[in-house]
Point group: C2
Chain length 317, copies 2
C-alpha cells in the first residue's frame, strides 16, 4: 500500500458534499485522519453516527489544527467568516480548499484572511443532488463528474497537483480555469437554469386561473422536471445568486432578450423562427449525449418499466 | 371473452402516439380491425414492418371507411385539413377523436368539417417522450398517466363514455374539462416550460464568452435537464405555440414579470426574497412526489447505477 495522500484532512461542513468527501477519503485511504467539524451539534452527531470521520469537533479551529488539507463544504456566503476563524490555527504549508459553486466571490472573501504560508486551491465539483445533509452523501457522487479548480496566480503548482490527485481519487475529471471564467460558465449551465426553474414553479403556484392542485396533478407534462431543480437547497442557492450576481445578471439579460423575441414570434404567428430554434436546440442535446453527460433513454429512463417497441439504434443515442 | 370495444379503429398518424395506441388496441383486444394511415409511404412501411395494424392505407379516406372510431395522432396544425378530407367518408355515428396537445384550436379547426352524424370527442393524453416516429411507441406509454377529454356541449355522453373506456383500457386515468381550461392548464404545466427550455438552450448556444463545447461538457449542473425537453419534436411544438397562442402569451407574461422581480432581488442583494421563493417551491415538489407524479430519488434515479458516463447495458434500457 502506498502512503495516504494526506496526513490529516479537516472537513468543515458535513452536508451532502462534505459527507460524500468523507466517504471517499475513507474508501480511498486518502488520509490517515479525518477531522469533521460543523456548526450544529445535531449535524455533528449525525456525522458521528454515520462514522464519517475519526474525530468530531464543534470548533473549526480544533479540527484544522495539524491538518495538511482543509476543505470547506459550506454555503458560499459563510466561507469568509470561516476562513477568518481558522486562519490563526492553520499549520504551515496547509492546503486550503473549498467546494463552493461560485469561485470569484469565495476567493474575494477567503483570501484576505488566509496566511501566506497556506496554499489556497479553490475547487468546485459539478456534482450534487437536490438533497442535503450528512445522510444525503454517497461515495459515487463525484464519479465521472467534473471538478473545476481555479488556482490563483501565486498558488504553488505542487499544491494544485495534490488537490487534482485528490479529486481524481474521488473519481472526478479535473479541469482548471480562472475563477472569472468558471463563474460565467456556471451562470449559464447551472445558475440561470436553476433561477428560471425556481421562477416558473413560483409563477405556477400563484395563478388564479389554474389551481395548485391541477399543477401538481398534471405536472408530468414537462413542469415536474423544473420542480426537481426548484427543490434544491434555498440557502445554497440564495448565496449562489447573491455572490455570482454579475455573471447571472449578464446571462439572464441574454435569456430575457431571447425570450422576448420568441414571444414576439408567437404573437405574430412566425412559425419559421420557432421551428428553426427548436431544430437547433436538438443538436445540443445530441452533443450532450455523445459526450456521455446524460442518458438517451426517454424521460431519463424514469419510466424504466416501459419497454420501447424496439431498442434504439446506436446512432440515436 | 367480451366483445371488442370497437369494430374498426382508424389510426390517422402513426408516430409515437399513434403507434402506442396501436400497440394498446392490439394488447387489449380493443377492436376487431385496426386501419393505419399516414402521410408518407416510408412511415406506413415502418408501421407495417412493426405489425401495428391489420390494414395500411396512404389515403385517410380509405382507412376511415366503416370505422366506428377514428383517432387523429398528427400535429395540431394539420387536424383541420384531415377533418375536411375524411368527413365525407365517415360512417354514420362514428366517433372522431384526436390526441392534440392543444384543444381549443383543434376543435375550431375540425368541428366545421365534421358531419352532424359523427360524435366528436377531443382528447389529450399527457404522455410522451422526446422521441418520435412509429418505432418510438410502446404499450406502457399511457399507463398511469392522465388523459384529458374535452367534449363539446352537444357531444353524446355515450360517445364520451366509450372514449373514456378506451383510454382506461390503455392504462390512463381520465379527466374531463372544457377545452379552454385545458389550454390554460397545459400552457403552465407544459407549453411554457418547453418554451423556456428551448429558449435557454438557444441562449447558451449563442454566447461568445462561453463556448458551446463548454456548455456541453459541463451541462450536468442543471442545464442538461432543459436540453432533454428542448430536444422535443420541432413541428409538434411549433404548432403548439401557434395554436395555443393566447394562453401561452398570458402565462409567459406572468413568468416574465416574476423573473424581472427576481432579477431585481439579485441586483439589490435582497436575499430574503430569494430565500422565500426557494422555500415555497420545495412544497410543490413534495406535492408532486406525494401525488405519485415523480420519483423522489435524487436526479430521478438517473445516477442510481453511479456510473452515468457509460453506455447503458442492453438490459437497462
Ligand atoms: N448540493 C450541491 O448540489 C452542490 C454541488 C456542488 C457544490 N456545492 C457547494 O457545496 C456547498 C455545500 O453544499 P451541501 O449540498 O453539502 O450543503 P448541505 O448538505 O446543506 O450542508 C451544508 C453544510 O454547511 C454547514 N452550514 C450551513 N450554514 C452554515 C453557516 N451559516 N455557518 C457554518 N456552517 C454552515 C452545515 O452545517 P450544520 O448542518 O451544522 O448547520 C452543513 O455542514 C454549497 O453551499 C455549494 O456552494 C453544492
Ligand atoms: N409526443 C408527445 O409528447 C405528445 C404527447 C401528447 C400529445 N401529443 C400530440 O400528438 C401529436 C402526434 O405526436 P407524435 O409524438 O405521435 O408525433 P410523431 O411521432 O412525429 O408522428 C406524427 C405523425 O403525424 C404525421 N404527420 C406529420 N406531419 C403531417 C402532415 N403535415 N400531414 C399529415 N400527417 C402528418 C406523421 O406522418 P408521416 O411520418 O407519414 O409524415 C406521423 O404519422 C402531436 O402533434 C401532439 O399534438 C404528442
Amino acid at each position: 500500500m502506498t502512503a495516504p495522500l494526506f496526513d490529516r484532512v479537516a472537513l468543515i461542513g458535513i452536508g451532502l458534499i462534505g459527507s460524500s468527501l468523507a466517504l471517499n477519503v475513507k474508501a480511498g485511504g486518502l488520509a490517515r485522519h479525518v477531522a469533521v467539524t460543523t456548526r450544529r451539534r445535531e449535524t455533528l452527531e449525525k456525522a458521528e453516527a454515520l462514522g464519517l470521520g475519526d474525530s468530531y469537533h464543534l470548533e473549526a479551529a480544533e479540527a484544522v489544527k495539524d491538518a495538511d488539507f482543509v476543505i470547506l463544504s459550506v454555503p458560499v456566503g459563510v466561507c469568509g467568516a470561516i476562513a477568518r476563524e481558522i486562519a490563526p490555527h492553520l499549520r504551515q504549508g496547509a492546503i486550503v480548499s473549498d467546494v463552493g459553486s461560485v469561485k470569484g466571490a469565495v476567493i474575494e472573501q477567503m483570501r484576505p484572511h488566509l496566511p501566506e504560508t497556506a496554499e489556497f486551491v479553490p475547487a468546485h465539483p459539478l456534482a450534487g443532488t437536490e438533497h442535503s445533509g450528512p445522510e444525503a452523501g454517497f461515495v459515487e457522487l463525484f464519479r465521472n463528474r467534473w471538478c473545476i479548480l481555479t488556482p490563483l496566480a501565486d498558488t504553488d503548482p505542487a499544491a494544485v497537483a495534490k488537490v487534482r490527485t485528490f479529486w481524481e481519487a474521488c473519481g472526478a475529471n479535473v479541469e482548471t480555469m480562472t475563477a472569472e471564467h468558471h463563474d460565467l460558465v456556471l451562470a449559464i449551465v447551472s445558475h440561470v437554469p436553476h433561477l428560471i426553474a425556481y421562477n416558473i414553479v413560483g409563477t405556477a403556484a400563484d395563478l388564479e386561473t389554474v389551481t395548485q392542485q391541477e399543477v401538481v396533478k398534471f405536472s408530468a407534462s414537462g413542469f415536474r422536471d423544473f420542480t426537481r431543480i426548484a427543490a434544491s437547497d434555498p440557502t445554497m442557492w440564495r448565496d449562489v445568486f447573491l455572490t455570482n450576481r454579475d455573471a447571472v445578471l449578464e446571462m439572464l439579460a441574454r435569456f430575457s432578450e431571447d425570450l422576448a423575441s420568441l414571444q414576439r414570434a408567437i404573437r405574430w404567428g412566425d412559425g419559421d423562427t420557432l421551428f428553426d430554434l427548436f431544430t437547433r436546440t436538438r443538436a445540443i442535446r445530441r452533443g450532450i449525449i455523445e459526450a456521455g453527460q446524460d442518458t438517451a433513454k426517454p424521460n431519463f429512463g424514469r419510466e424504466a418499466t416501459a419497454t420501447p417497441a424496439r431498442e434504439p439504434a446506436p446512432g440515436e443515442r
